[in-house]
């Protein structure tokens, strides 16, 4: 099965910086898998996400989504940045359906159906007719997630998706993301300062030095935990215990 996302020997050195932030990054993500990039501040996790969505080009190596450069398959990628980045001059609903209207321009009934479908995914029943600034942070985050799903992407890229939630809600978010990845057959790449306690998640630790490219996924100089996704339980036993005492 061909990978949905493939990093091959990727290094990233932003302009004006003497050394690469990371190098030798190899990662293949299949449908149904969730990988989490972790690093300290400035460790390159958000840059790795920008490479995955084609907003930056790798200094060396290649990044492919569905076998093609990410810039050529934008409609196969759903992305939520660190702040959610909803457009401040549109209502929540207009934000939600913007990529669908822009890229496919379907009839309004289809727009409504897709909006309902992705809102249901995240348990949002009703969207208040307000701009993002007047909505609660969690709702903004959920709308941004729903927007990222509205084009039925093959790859979902999320920058710290649980950042605005408390600890127990954050765990729910991670579990839910993995469920979405598996049920909808998409790959999820995320970045987080604190990695989730999900046994099924693949943790990619970025810390700035070289790791041999022969490892399946890695980056440099730091801890790299490899957790095979397919046979692992969907959630960490601790989380199961907490949800089903």
């Amino acid at each position: 099965m061909s990978a949905i996302l493939a990093f091959s020997g990727v290094s990233w050195q932003p302009p004006g910086r003497a050394e690469p932030v990371f190098q030798g990054l190899d990662l293949e993500l299949q449908a149904g898998e969730l990988a989490v990039m972790t690093s300290g501040l400035g460790g390159g996790k958000s840059s790795a996400l920008r490479l995955a969505i084609g907003l930056e080009s790798p200094t060396t190596g290649s990044v492919l989504v569905c076998g093609r450069p990410p810039g050529e398959v934008r409609d196969r990628i759903g992305f939520v940045g660190g702040e959610g980045a909803l457009l401040s001059n549109l209502s929540l609903r207009d934000n939600l359906v913007l990529p669908l209207r822009w890229l496919r321009d379907p009839p309004e009934a289809e727009v409504e159906r897709k909006a309902r479908e992705v809102l249901d995914l995240f348990g949002v029943e009703e969207l208040p007719a307000v701009a993002p600034a007047y909505a609660p942070t969690n709702l903004r985050r959920l709308v941004a997630l729903a927007r990222a799903m509205i084009l039925d992407p093959a790859l979902l890229v999320l920058d710290d998706p649980a950042a605005d939630f408390d600890e127990s809600s954050a765990e729910e978010v991670w579990v839910h993301l993995l469920e979405i990845a598996r049920t909808r057959g998409l790959a999820v790449l995320t970045a987080a300062t604190e990695p989730p306690r999900l046994a099924a998640a693949r943790i990619v630790a970025l810390s700035g030095s070289v790791v041999p490219a022969t490892r399946r996924f890695s980056a440099a100089r730091g801890r790299t935990a490899l957790v095979p996704a397919i046979r692992a339980p969907i959630v960490h036993p601790d989380i199961i215990a907490r949800r089903h005492p």
Partner: protein, 267 residues
């Protein structure tokens, strides 16, 4: 080698920077014109909504203020025209009003109002979007920020500035007529006044009017978009982008307007 830059070197550096900036704006305008000429069907419906909002904000919502300035300008210019043309007769009155209100002040004042209201707003809005990473978000969704943000704003500002200039000219001339009724020695019927105004107007005036509305509209929108899209990533860069947008737009519109006037009178 002296640590202080020589005046010649500083002048050279400033000239290169200015030329580079002009080239950036020209490139932006050229790219936008190429898109605009592709036709309406290529602009998705959601882009047309942005265009409508821009026309509403820049054009319709500015009408009361433009109307007020037009009434006051028409009154002031009307009084001066009546005084100046007193001995020379009605023909000079018409020529004065057309020259000042239609050819010069109308387009220039409207451009200033659009710069103050919309140029600053566009630059600040886009800079704020950049600060909050909304532009990255758009690009990542496959929505080209240029097509979604710049093209509709340019088209909207052009349409609005043409409409506002027409409204300004009509209102200020009407205001001039009212002043003529109040201050003039003999009452002038509106039809006679219209004939008086129409007499000195030529097709050349129409060309001048178009040159002084369409191009300033393009310049204002292009400069505002450029300043917004190239702003820094700090929140303090937002007001800086707005200020730069206003100052540079004013300079560009003044230069353009003076150039068109000079060419028109030389021709």
């Amino acid at each position: 080698m002296s640590a202080v830059e020589s005046p010649v070197s500083a002048l050279g550096r400033a000239t290169i920077a200015a030329a580079s900036y002009v080239l950036s704006i020209a490139t932006l305008i050229g790219y936008a014109l190429r898109h605009l000429t592709k036709g309406r069907k290529l602009v998705p419906k959601v882009g047309r909504e942005v265009l409508k909002r821009q026309i509403l904000f820049t054009g319709v919502e500015a009408l009361p203020f433009v109307g007020l300035i037009a009434v006051l300008t028409g009154a002031v210019v009307g009084v001066q025209a009546i005084l100046l043309s007193g001995a020379a007769g009605r023909d000079l009155l018409g020529t004065l009003l057309v020259t000042v209100l239609v050819r010069e002040l109308g387009p220039l004042l409207v451009a200033f109002i659009v710069i103050g209201r919309s140029g600053a707003a566009i630059a600040a809005e886009l800079a704020s979007m950049r600060v909050h990473r909304e532009l990255d978000s758009l690009e990542a969704m496959g929505v080209d920020p240029f097509d979604y943000l710049v093209i509709p704003r340019m088209a909207g500002v052009i349409v609005a500035i043409i409409g506002l200039t027409m409204a300004f000219i009509a209102t200020s001339l009407l205001s001039g007529w009212i002043i003529l009724q109040l201050v003039g020695n003999t009452p002038t019927p509106l039809v006679d006044y219209a004939t008086l105004i129409a007499a000195p107007l030529t097709f050349g005036d129409l060309a001048i009017l178009l040159a002084k509305t369409v191009v300033p509209g393009l310049l204002i929108a292009a400069i505002a978009c450029h300043e917004g899209l190239t702003a820094g990533l700090s929140s303090t860069d937002v007001p800086r982008a707005a200020t730069r947008g206003v100052v540079r737009s004013l300079s560009a519109v003044f230069l353009w307007s003076a150039g068109v006037t000079a060419l028109a009178y030389l021709a």
